[in-house]
């Protein structure tokens, strides 16, 4: 892989980070945050396709109501594999460990993250977790769903629960290590002049996500440890015959798993804020409101986990408390959607691939967020929880939101990471196809969800077949759309035309370094004296049609 990247740069220029070493060992023992970002990108891409193939087979199976392709058990193990791999091995690490690792030091004007060796160690923790999980898949898979509910996972499931739980347990510590690293970097390595309210929103999003990662993941680690202890040592912690309470596990699990969905969506919001401002050539609308909204989502996100347990046997009083808090956490998300829309006002909007992906994020995240309100109101949630309505809701946020933003970021920073520009029309086609494929896949699931089609069903009443067939067709389009970037991005490594420092004319510090940037990012640590997204003077709007920003963030750019 590395020799393709070698291009005959004139030796006079400082060697970029890709040329620091070409052997495999130079990649596997690197402490360069940019290379670790690429190591993560490759590993999570592999997992994205593992999870994708698993659900592809499931969607194929669901075309017929009586399940001709798989046995019940195989079906259960496939959707559990899809859940575990997609949540912990693609979505949670997706943006923070790839773009976060690559861009955080560049955006705040630092040469490296605070703990470089810890950064590499966190990738190896991720790989160790992956080995456990892949073993559990190969050895026969786990059939408890990604939620591991007791007493099924502890007493009644005879599948490889301990191996899968151990895999997620170890990958959890990779998350904590990344979180600690980013918080310390943001606090202590900002360039002179880069005050807190001059940080780009991407850095704010990564900072908030890191806080949620550090404070939520350990509770997941403990809940999985208790399951492993009960299954392996036989200590009756959740055993109902012994007075154990199955709801206790759900409280511990969802205390992590709801903040986890904010770990997945907050970085996506950061990426989208960068892209909307750059392609609309406009300052972000209400910068401080956007920052407080990020922090609000991060903190209030810890208080709402009970809305997963409205029907689980929770007390009616707690149902209402969690329902109220769930409505409150929706307010900051709504503010962010309105602010993104207002950022487009009086801009010079161009529609390259990153912008198309970002706009599809905006549309799908809006619908996903609004359906969240249905699930926050108790009577509707009682009817639609554990049905395809919920499946559609969280896929709108996670696939429509985070994955679209991931691809948006991938295209936006691709020239900076590789020094090459991807093929624009292919990328636009892939963005539009993804949006279409997504809508066809998940819109019918809302309808059949409200009609009463339960989730995780191998065989289902024939009445819902029409919806499943449409959804499976959509899934086919979506899977094809996800394959396009796999072809034209590596293709651009050799044939894409070379780019300078700032192909998009963006204002971030990362766009003031050569692409791809040298190993130490900045020959001299830059001085920052202006707030981010200075595409036009304050109080003005995007007058000039040109690409040059009014003021990049760097004093001596």
């Amino acid at each position: 892989m590395t020799d393709i990247l070698l291009d005959s740069l004139p030796p006079a220029k400082p060697a970029n980070y890709l040329e620091e070493g070409h052997t495999l060992a130079s990649w596997l023992t690197t402490t360069d945050h940019k290379r670790i970002g690429i190591l993560y990108a490759l590993s999570i891409t592999a997992f994205f396709f593992i999870g994708g193939i698993a659900i592809g087979i499931v969607r194929l199976e669901l075309i017929t109501p009586h399940g001709a392709l798989l046995s019940d058990d195989q079906y259960n193990r496939l959707f559990t594999l899809h859940g575990i791999v997609m949540v912990w091995f693609f979505l949670v690490p997706s943006i923070p460990t790839t773009f976060g690792n690559f861009l955080l030091p560049l955006m705040i004007g630092a040469r490296e993250v605070a703990f470089p060796r810890l950064n590499l160690f966190s990738w190896y923790l991720f790989v160790a977790g992956a080995v456990f999980t892949v073993y559990s898949v190969i050895a026969g898979g786990v059939d408890t769903g990604w939620t591991f509910y007791t007493p099924f996972s502890t007493l009644f499931s005879n599948s490889h629960v301990i191996a899968a739980a151990a895999g997620v347990f170890v990958a959890g510590f990779s998350s904590i290590a990344t979180g600690v690293n980013f918080i310390t970097t943001t606090h202590m390595l900002r360039a002179p002049g880069m005050t807190w309210f001059r940080l780009p929103l991407m850095v704010w999003a990564l900072y908030t996500t890191s806080i949620v990662m550090v404070l939520a993941t350990p509770v997941l680690a403990m809940s999985l440890l208790l399951i492993m202890a009960e299954r392996f040592l036989g200590v009756p912690i959740f055993n109902p015959n012994n007075g154990g309470d199955p709801l206790l596990f759900q409280h511990l699990f969802w205390f992590y798993s709801h903040p986890a969905v904010y770990i997945m969506v907050l970085p996506a919001m950061g990426v989208v804020s960068e892209i909307f401002t750059c392609f609309a050539r406009r300052r972000v609308f209400g910068y401080s409101a956007m920052v407080y909204a990020l922090l609000g989502i991060g903190v209030v996100g810890f208080l709402v986990w009970g809305h997963h347990m409205f029907v689980a046997g929770q007390s009616p009083y707690a149902n209402l408390v969690f329902s109220f808090l769930s409505f409150m956490v929706a307010v900051p998300s709504a503010i962010k959607v309105f602010n993104w829309t207002a950022t487009l006002y009086r801009g010079q909007i161009s529609f390259e691939a990153p912008m198309l992906y970002a706009m599809s994020f905006l549309g799908l995240f809006t619908i996903g967020g609004l359906t969240g309100l249905f699930l926050a109101s108790v009577p509707i949630d009682i009817h639609v929880t554990d049905t395809y309505f919920v499946v559609a809701h969280f896929h709108f946020i996670m696939v429509g939101g985070t994955v679209s933003a991931y691809f948006a970021g991938l295209h936006f920073w691709w020239p900076k990471i590789t020094g090459r520009m991807y093929h624009e029309s292919w990328a636009r086609f892939s963005a539009v196809t993804t949006f279409v494929g997504f809508m066809v896949t998940f819109m019918p699931q809302f309808i059949m969800g409200y009609a009463g089609m339960p989730r995780r069903y191998h065989v289902y009443p024939e009445v819902f077949q029409i919806y499943h067939v449409i959804s499976s067709a959509g899934a086919l389009i979506l899977s094809v759309a996800y394959l396009f970037p796999l072809f034209y991005l590596p293709w651009s490594l050799r044939h894409g035309d070379r780019v300078g420092k700032n192909p998009w004319g963006a204002t971030g510090l990362e766009w003031t370094t050569p692409s791809p940037p040298p190993k130490d990012n900045f020959p001299r640590i830059p001085r920052v004296d202006v707030e981010p997204y200075a595409y036009h003077p304050v109080g003005q709007s995007a007058d000039t049609e040109g690409r040059e920003p009014h003021r990049p963030q760097r004093e001596d750019a």
């Binding site: 409101a289 801009g347 706009m359 549309g363 359906t371 009817h383």
Partner: protein
């Protein structure tokens, strides 16, 4: 089987849920269209190189708009929360005279028992226009009884009673299924709920093969399991008197007082050492593993039927 088995509004609660749902759908469509329209308008009007006016931003634009839509969304969400909470609270407490039906969930089937002992598998017959209360428990893992046409669902937990109540307005056959993943044949744990007019329901109950009532079967168990040996007033053993115990408030040895509901009675039978009644020695043996769920339902039915007469002939 057709879609109306799922989507029919079979109870007034279902109608209330649907009203709230369709209002929220309308609201969401309105907000989504507003956002998409704005995005589309700005994209077309302010595309790069278009002649639309840019120049200085209007003065009022920034802070007031920001505060405006923050408060708007806050108030709107508060309103939706109030509406949802109100309709939820009204559906909370079941009416007193509800028909008691017991449901035992087992890995991959539903065992239903009518008050007079009639047993059904994966099927519940209920009278229309009369409140029905399902007291449910699981023998193994967590299941969840889901009645789509009635828009209600409740997890069924091992070792703990959970309740569902409804008043079916529309007669007919509706879908019943399990909604919480419970193992290999989770998707095959479906069944039917049959709502009959009250007269037909009474006729159907009578037509079932002759069954002793739950309470009378419980009384037989009360004797055969040896409960009467200690708890009958004539017995020499100093044990609490169980005459009309259901609903009575009981003083415990450690000073707490609890009401003797189904959960308390069940725990006292299976884990007697847990809550010892004030003034009694913890001598009662545990019936854990001896009394099955079906037998427990009969014992509780017997204890609840306040007409137990000490030593009376069945």
């Amino acid at each position: 089987m057709n879609l109306s088995d799922f989507t029919a509004e079979a109870s007034s609660h279902a109608a209330a849920v649907d009203r709230l749902f369709y209002v929220l759908v309308g609201l969401s469509i309105f907000i989504s269209l507003a956002v998409f329209a704005l995005v589309l308008l700005f994209s077309l009007r302010y595309r790069r190189g278009s002649r639309a006016k840019r120049g200085p931003m209007p003065k009022f634009i920034q802070r007031e708009v920001e505060i405006g839509w923050t408060c708007a969304t806050f108030v709107l969400f508060l309103f939706i929360f109030w509406w949802a909470a109100a309709s939820q609270l009204s559906a909370l407490t079941p009416p007193k005279n509800a028909l008691e039906i017991s449901v035992v969930a087992k890995q991959w089937m539903w065992k239903v028992e009518q008050p007079n002992g009639v047993r059904e598998i994966n099927e519940i017959h209920v009278p229309a226009d009369k409140p029905v209360r399902l007291s449910m428990i699981s023998q193994d893992v967590i299941h969840s009884l889901f009645l789509p046409a009635l828009r209600i669902k409740q997890d069924v937990l091992p070792q703990r009673y959970t309740y569902l109540w409804f008043t079916a307005r529309k007669t007919g056959t509706f879908h019943l299924t399990c909604a919480e993943f419970c193992g290999t044949e989770h998707s095959r744990m479906a069944g039917r709920i049959v709502v009959l007019p009250p007269a037909d329901y009474a006729r159907w109950i009578e037509a079932q093969p002759e069954k002793l009532g739950l309470a009378r079967e419980g009384e037989a168990l009360y004797r055969s399991l040896g409960c009467s040996g200690c708890h009958a007033t004539a017995s020499t053993v100093h044990a609490p008197d169980l005459n009309g115990v259901f609903g009575r408030s009981v003083h415990l040895a450690d000073g707490r007082t609890v009401t003797a509901d189904e959960a308390y009675l069940r725990d006292s039978i299976l884990l007697p050492g847990r809550d010892i009644v004030a003034g009694y020695e913890p001598v009662m043996p545990s019936y854990r593993g001896i009394v099955s769920e079906e037998q427990m339902i009969r014992l509780l039915a017997y204890l609840k039927s306040s007409s137990i007469k000490q030593g009376a002939e069945p």
